[in-house]
Assembly symmetry: C2
Homo-oligomer: 130 residues x 2
């Protein structure tokens, strides 16, 4: 159905994990405008969490304009965001890292090399999957 994973050990709240992954699914085009997301009770069952938690993620996405709905119907992907919006979000996430690296004394070249190195070897994690 959808490709969502939650990591209970993570410091990131479960509802934020769902929130971000659905956002990414929409950004990447794996979920297109008009696609229905799983009902809160369904997804909650698959992930073995409470449906209120799923709803918390959905309402945050609705607040962002990424999900829309009509009474009694399911949540639906509202729109894909523009490239620029995606970039600015990624930027926001990366800025802390860059600031810290500079604060520690790394040069711009060292940071770029670090990025290259990071882009090579990557790994994944385990968790509840739906």
């Amino acid at each position: 159905m959808v490709d969502i994973t939650v990591e209970f050990n993570s410091k990131v709240p479960v509802y934020i994990q769902i929130y971000e992954q659905i956002k990414d699914l929409a950004y990447s085009g794996k979920l297109k405008p008009g696609d229905r997301v799983p009902s809160s009770r369904t997804l909650a069952g698959l992930l073995e969490i409470n449906y209120h938690t799923v709803n918390q993620a959905y309402q945050a996405l609705w607040k962002d304009g990424l999900l829309k709905m009509e009474r009694g119907k399911r949540y639906v992907i509202a729109k894909g965001k523009t490239e620029n919006e995606v970039y600015s979000e990624i930027e926001e996430e990366g800025r802390d890292m860059i600031n810290r690296a500079l604060r520690v004394g790394l040069t711009e070249d060292e940071i770029m090399n670090l990025m290259k190195r990071m882009l090579k070897g990557r790994n994944g994690g385990a968790g509840n999957h739906a």
Copy 2:
């Protein structure tokens, strides 16, 4: 004395902000092994926070081996970490960003360009300063 700033609006807990900044001061060499950090009551007064909060940061740093102390004396910088250790910490911070960028569909080249762009225009923030 030391260059520490706390941002109350931030989602990052105050004691974590202090923790990270002292770590960075040690990594960058602005604080060298043997240097004394401000007493918890002193720094708390400057930042206008509770001294227990400062102590929380210091104890976390002590747990990491970055601060050492002898009974009745002040906390002292224990050691500068190796380059590799610094890198691995920065890596850990940056990995989330990269994973997300890839999940959204950005290519490696696009990510590298984004990094270059981020390294050009940067800004700072306001907050209590000591």
